[in-house]
Symmetry: C2
Subunit: 164 residues, 2 copies
């Protein structure tokens, strides 16, 4: 706080460059890794990253999920999921059926073939990630987890405040 010549409170223009630089670095890291994973998925399995991500969501829930669930978990729009699922059903990776209880709802699951293919990819994917983060110590990993959790909470709070 600073007082000017007439002794009124004056706010200095606040310094926010550090946060901006942090955001750019976070974005760079993610883009870099995402690009690397995308390349390897294409090269090794000829699959796109969005398809892999969708299958990863479904692998965690054998009984299946609704399109809305997928949309929320992947943080993408509903229409996006519709198209993605469309293509994965077409290629035989996914099974899609209308819910008995609520006929608006579509429940999707991995097919047997889809699950088998995903598991194969997931095994290698995990090794790639381990390699990409290979120079971080276990302590670095823990510390990053903690700070990113804090960041996520802060961002969610900010988003919520805006929407409210």
């Amino acid at each position: 706080m600073i007082l000017d010549s007439e002794t009124k409170a004056v706010e200095l223009p606040e310094h926010h460059g550090d946060e901006l630089r942090l955001w750019l670095r976070l974005l760079t890291c993610t883009t870099l890794i995402e690009g690397e994973v995308r390349s390897r998925l294409r090269e090794r399995f000829d699959v796109t990253l969005p398809r892999f991500d969708l299958m990863a969501q479904l692998d965690k829930v054998p009984e299946g999920m609704t399109l809305s669930d997928v949309s929320k978990r992947m943080m993408v729009s509903n229409g996006n999921v519709t198209g993605l699922v469309e293509r994965l059903v077409e290629s035989g990776h996914l099974d899609r059926r209308t819910s008995e209880a609520d006929r608006r709802v579509q429940v999707i699951r991995l097919t047997k073939a889809g699950r088998a293919e995903f598991r194969k990819m997931a095994t290698e994917h995990e090794l790639w990630i381990a390699d990409i983060f290979g120079d971080l110590t276990p302590k670095d990993v823990r510390e990053l987890m903690r700070l990113l959790a804090k960041t996520k909470a802060s961002a969610q709070k900010s988003a919520k405040a805006r929407t409210a």
Copy 2:
């Protein structure tokens, strides 16, 4: 290291779940913040995030950059930049001219109007970012910067090793 019943070396399957969880959290954070910034840019200035990012690159270099430079800095494909620039020239934000020295090269710059509009957006954008990261202490910010720098280096090393 473990020895099996016939005294041969056996590798335990290594534990890589922590790195995977870290990657997912990193991705979640970035997606969350990116979505928030995208919403605000559209709501407040009716501009898309890729356009803002491209203008941000150009604002740093008044004398202009080549399309390749932009492509590298933004970490997107050449073809992507071509289309993006096309639309921004169309809307009067960018000026594009063929280099005298090398007629393959296109040099793009912000127009006066483009720069004015970007500066207006950038001022608010910086406040949004500060708000989004608002719950982090200065120490958190420093620590994240450090760990993300290490992460970036590690990822680049891994990518380089694969390509080599």
